[in-house]
């Protein structure tokens, strides 16, 4: 999948587009990547990405998986989702510019548009952040 494809999977756009590629998608989850580049909206003064950038990247990684499944099921546009809840988020360190983040999302059951998920973000194999999250995707 290319960066062009990600625009078909999620509705976010610059300056807050926080996924480069969806590497794999399965019914129960998937993996997405983001390289932290200069000019990223979430960069702090010291050139490292803020914790909130990690959270947005994780949410959009989950959204990309949901978008993949929605399009496969016949949707014509990527679903718009919102973060409903963040629980047990841990930030182990802030990513540096130039690092590639790789986030694995495991999707739990969905009820009334709310999906529970667990995610881990790694850079070069090292755990950077992990969290649980609820994503709300209103049914169109």
């Amino acid at each position: 999948m290319t960066r062009e494809d990600i625009l078909t999977l999620i509705p976010q756009r610059d300056p807050i587009l926080m996924v480069d590629e969806l590497l794999e998608a399965a019914p129960d989850g998937g993996t997405a990547t983001l390289t932290v580049r200069p000019g990223n909206y979430f960069l702090g003064e010291d050139g490292r990405m803020e914790e909130t950038g990690l959270l947005e990247h994780i949410a959009q990684s989950a959204s990309a998986v949901a978008g993949h499944h929605a399009l496969a099921a016949g949707a014509t546009a990527p679903p718009v989702g919102y973060i409903g809840e963040i629980k047990k988020f841990h930030c182990h360190r802030l990513p540096q510019t130039g690092e590639e983040l790789r986030t694995t999302v495991r999707l739990g059951p969905e009820a009334e548009g709310v999906t529970l998920l667990a995610a881990e973000t790694r850079a070069d194999g090292e755990l950077v952040a992990d969290t649980q999250m609820k994503i709300y995707i209103p049914r169109g």
Binding site: P11, Q12, R13, D14, P15, I16, L17, Y41, F42, L43, G44, E50, E51, T52, G53, L55, E56, A59, V80, Y82, I83, G84, E85, I86, K87, K88, F89, H90, C91, L94, T131
Partner: protein
């Protein structure tokens, strides 16, 4: 990133000890709405969390990092037109090696976010 003067303006603040009450105005012209979402401006929940972080830095006078979030509930979808002005209440207490931050973002109509997490003072040493 700095959200003050971009995402929000601070209209007033009242702080005493370990509590602060901040009145902010959301800026509808913030560039983030170009992408979130095109033609449909919705406040990113993570920008509300970042706003709480910045206001907590103002309250403590320290640069902070978010070490963990125990629970953050984004209870209503916020937009700069639906809730142009918000009140942010922040309470601090000590926790193991850091600061427990409890915050609520609300207007007269509803609560948009409840946040409970740990922040630590930024380690400015070079690694």
């Amino acid at each position: 990133m700095r959200l003050e003067h971009h995402y929000y303006e601070l209209n007033s603040m009242h702080t005493g000890g370990r509590h602060g009450r901040f009145h902010i105005a959301l800026r509808p012209d913030c560039e983030v709405y170009r992408g979130h979402f095109p033609g449909n401006p919705v406040c990113p929940g993570v920008c509300h969390i970042q706003t709480v972080k910045e206001l907590t830095e103002r309250l403590t006078g320290c640069r902070l990092r978010i070490r963990s979030i125990r629970l953050c509930r984004l209870k209503a979808v916020a937009t700069p037109s639906a809730c142009p002005e918000l009140c942010v209440d922040i309470s601090l207490s000590d926790t193991d090696g850091g600061l427990l931050v409890e915050a609520r973002m609300a207007d007269a109509e509803r609560t948009y976010m409840d946040f409970k997490g740990e922040m630590t003072k930024e380690d400015t040493r070079t690694e």
